[in-house]
Amino acid sequence: MTRKQQRITMIAGGLGLLAAAAGLILYSISDTLVFFYTPSEVAEKSVGPGIRFRLGGLVEKGSLVRGQGTRITFTVTDTDKTLPVTYEGILPDLFREDQSVVAEGKLNAGGVFEADTVLAKHDENYMPREVADALKKKGVWREGEKPEGSVQ
């Protein structure tokens, strides 16, 4: 095999693999990406049931109810609109009422958000950036200020 043929084989092989990888990436990303919405955006965009998304906002004060067994329900609010959420399992350590939360799941037919994952903050001083931005947009929370009712 000459140098030229060798190079052509390698380049062709490389490009073929690259094309396959690029196709795989494009296909997967459009298929698996998950949007982040606040309750107001859920209402505005009229997100239908069965579509996976991330819901962010504050856990409404007094809304946390521990039901049968390990079932938990609470309400997520962006102080404008609210959305009821149900979740089965153990909440993260830093999950509190009046604190920020991000939940991932789908709306059911009754308009209740069925979460399979609930994420809370990693420490007290810090709010998920998506939530902070969304609340800032609503004018509820400003930079450098802790959200109302924060522990400390």
Partner: protein
């Protein structure tokens, strides 16, 4: 006083880094040997000064000197001593000091062990190291000085984030940094080679040990992070495709590719341009990781203090080094001479496929990690790319790679006989298939792909051993001869076998944990029992406890198999002082067949606790495999052929013998 000494040492270290950057380059350009030699002294001086700075900061932490703002913000006098020390790098400023300390240690090591590198190459390598050091020292002094004082000094500190107060996490950053920063040596060698305009087998021989060392540290660092996530976060998973995990995983993938392509440069003098590019990319991805983690563009436990100025500064460093290196690459690489020819089916060909797949895998991870950031910056839409994306892209890309691993070492250089290699691997193939069939018959649950995952792991292990058996002609003559051949093999060859075998062990652990985990979430009252995977777990009750800097509710769980009491597991809900931050401690009992994993959750309204119990079959194999890979690397590194400058010493030995 101690703090001021540290601050002053940092400034002097910057001065010596600047000297190390500028003077050796000038010396190499003018051909001034004395100036080139001074690079080694500058590297040593920079290292010593940073040891002083780091010690000063550690001293401030150990003595809880809260007049130092950094100590006040991140430490507390009631913290256990271990976490006072590890708290030094549990925050942004301190971790940057550790970063430059390790960087300078690598620089000093190049100076010390590189005594038989060509003088101009060594000078240029150290100059690039000096430039990186200077950039980060500027960054520390201008935006993240850990020695700033508070007046008046506060009485008590704020404490360290409790979830960082953990032994595995305490040592995860030093290992990871040693890996990230170790790749700077390969980067410096690549840039120096581009300046010199020469890449040859000797160059590859010098680069390989450094890359291998960095790769070993990265392997352990990534594994420690994953192990920590497994037992500390309470979700029972080992990898979450969190952007910060990805930030450490991308350099690992590229470093793995570099490790393999450097072999081709050393043995066959081919793939030079590609290897140089990989060396640049590996360290570039380390810098990208640092940027992602430090700039606050990601939300994560690692995003310490979010400060836009720091993000922009790191972005500047990033652009300067990556852009500069790639520009130099574009300018000089075409001048590099092409090396040996090879057929597509050959050892070189296999290593090219290895590199393409690893690079494509790294690219898939890169896009999944950065696409959400890019999309938000451009359109404002907030999205997240989660595990499903990575499973769909990374999985299919790694599958052919893993299948080909056992074949690679059996192929001969230049031109290989594919059919002959396939014949030699039949034992491994039969073993793998047998494992799949056995698992399929025994388990009868879990996804249908899982038995093939196990087969893949067995294939990797058996295939790696096949190579060893081939080289010793095992079973093809008296065992004594095979033993003699085994003893005669170079250590690097055992190292490779071990590393590939470790990969197989990890794959088996990942597959069993993912496919056959048992999970149960229930409310348990004291006296209640739950059965999982043939193990009976009973809730014995809870009691309050006071630790050094926390109070806890301690839940105790009895573990029984049949009628036999095995152990009592403890899971705690802790509230740390002074932040009042809660954490959960998981109770884990390792059975031979896997981990029993118990997490005590919140109190239920009608008494009792929500409890999450997992049985994670063979989970420890994931990290045991990583340790085996590390040991394989260590064994290779101890090989004489791998030592920097070994060829020269051998020649001198021969010369002396001839006299």
């Amino acid at each position: 006083m101690i703090g001021e000494i540290g601050h002053f040492a940092l400034i002097l270290a910057l001065a010596s880094a600047l000297y190390q950057f500028v003077m050796p380059l000038l010396g190499a350009w003018k051909g001034d040997q004395a100036v080139m030699r001074s690079a080694t002294w500058a590297a040593g001086a920079q290292f010593l000064l940073l040891v002083i700075a780091f010690s000063a900061l550690t001293w401030s932490y150990v003595t809880s000197d809260f007049s130092v703002a950094n100590v006040f913000e991140n430490s507390h006098s009631a913290k256990p001593m271990l976490y006072k020390i590890t708290g030094v790098w549990g925050n942004h400023e301190g971790s940057m000091v550790l970063w430059v300390l390790i960087l300078s240690a690598f620089g000093a090591a190049v100076g010390l062990f590189g005594s038989n590198l060509p003088l101009s190459l060594k000078a240029r390598v150290l100059a690039v190291q000096g430039a990186i050091g200077a950039a980060f020292l500027f960054f520390i002094l201008l935006t993240s000085n850990p020695f700033l004082r508070l007046d008046p000094p506060p009485v008590e500190g704020n404490g360290l984030n409790p979830i960082l107060q953990d032994p595995a996490l305490a040592f995860h950053p030093p290992f990871l940094y040693a890996g990230y920063v170790g790749l700077s040596v390969a980067f410096a060698f690549a840039v120096a080679a581009l300046i010199e305009g020469r890449v040859d087998a000797a160059w590859a021989r010098w680069v390989r040990p450094w890359t291998l060392a960095a790769w070993m540290f990265l392997t352990i660092g990534v594994a420690m992070g994953s192990w920590w996530a497994y037992y500390e976060l309470g979700w029972g998973g080992f990898w979450f495709w969190d952007p910060v995990e990805n930030a450490s995983f991308m350099p690992w993938l590229v470093a793995t590719a570099l490790l393999h392509s450097a072999i081709v440069v050393e043995r066959r003098n081919a793939l030079k341009i590609w290897t140089i590019l990989l060396a640049i990319l590996a360290f570039s991805l380390s810098l990208v990781g640092a940027f992602l983690v430090r700039s606050g563009v990601l939300t994560s436990v690692h995003a310490f203090a979010v400060d836009p100025a720091r993000g922009i500064f790191i972005l500047g460093i990033l652009t300067l080094f990556i852009g500069g290196a790639l520009a130099l690459f574009a300018w000089r690489a075409p001048a590099l001479k092409q090396g040996g020819l090879f057929a597509p089916v050959s050892r070189e060909g296999a290593l090219v496929v290895n590199n393409l797949l690893l690079a494509a895998g790294a690219a898939a991870v890169f896009i999944g990690t950065l696409y959400p950031l890019a999309l938000e910056a451009i359109t404002g839409a907030k999205i997240s790319v989660g595990a499903p994306y990575f499973n769909m892209t990374f999985g299919p890309l790694m599958l052919p790679l893993l299948i080909l691993v056992p074949a690679g070492p059996l192929l001969s250089w230049k031109r290989a006989d594919a059919w002959g290699v396939a014949q030699r691997l039949w034992v491994a193939a039969v073993l793998a298939l047998a494992a799949a069939v056995l698992i399929l018959v025994v388990t009868r649950r879990g996804p249908w792909l899982a038995p093939f995952g196990i087969a893949l792991g067995v294939w990797l292990i058996a295939g790696s051993l096949t190579e060893l058996a081939e080289r010793t002609k095992f079973m093809r003559g008296p065992l004594v001869h095979a033993w003699a051949r085994l003893k005669g093999l170079p250590r690097s060859s055992f190292g490779m076998t071990l590393a590939h075998l470790g990969l197989g062990v990890s794959v088996i652990g990942m597959v069993t944990l993912t496919a056959w985990r048992y999970e149960q979430i229930t409310v348990m009252k004291p006296g209640g029992e739950v059965e999982i995977a043939g193990i009976t777990v009973s809730f014995l009750g809870e009691s309050p406890r006071t630790g050094p800097n926390f109070t806890a509710d301690t839940g105790r769980f009895g573990v029984r198999v049949g009628d036999k009491e095995v152990t009592t597991l403890v899971s705690e809900k802790r509230i740390f002082q002074p932040s009042r931050q809660p954490t959960t401690e998981v109770g884990i009992h390792p059975f031979l067949t896997g981990d029993l994993y118990v997490v005590m959750g919140d109190s239920a309204p009608d008494g009792g606790r929500t409890v999450r119990i997992y049985f994670n079959p063979l989970a420890p194999l994931i990290w045991i495999g990583a340790v085996i890979m590390f040991l394989g690397g260590a064994l290779s590194l101890s090989d004489r052929r791998f030592r920097v400058g070994a060829p020269r010493l051998a020649r001198r030995g021969i010369a002396q013998a001839a006299e």
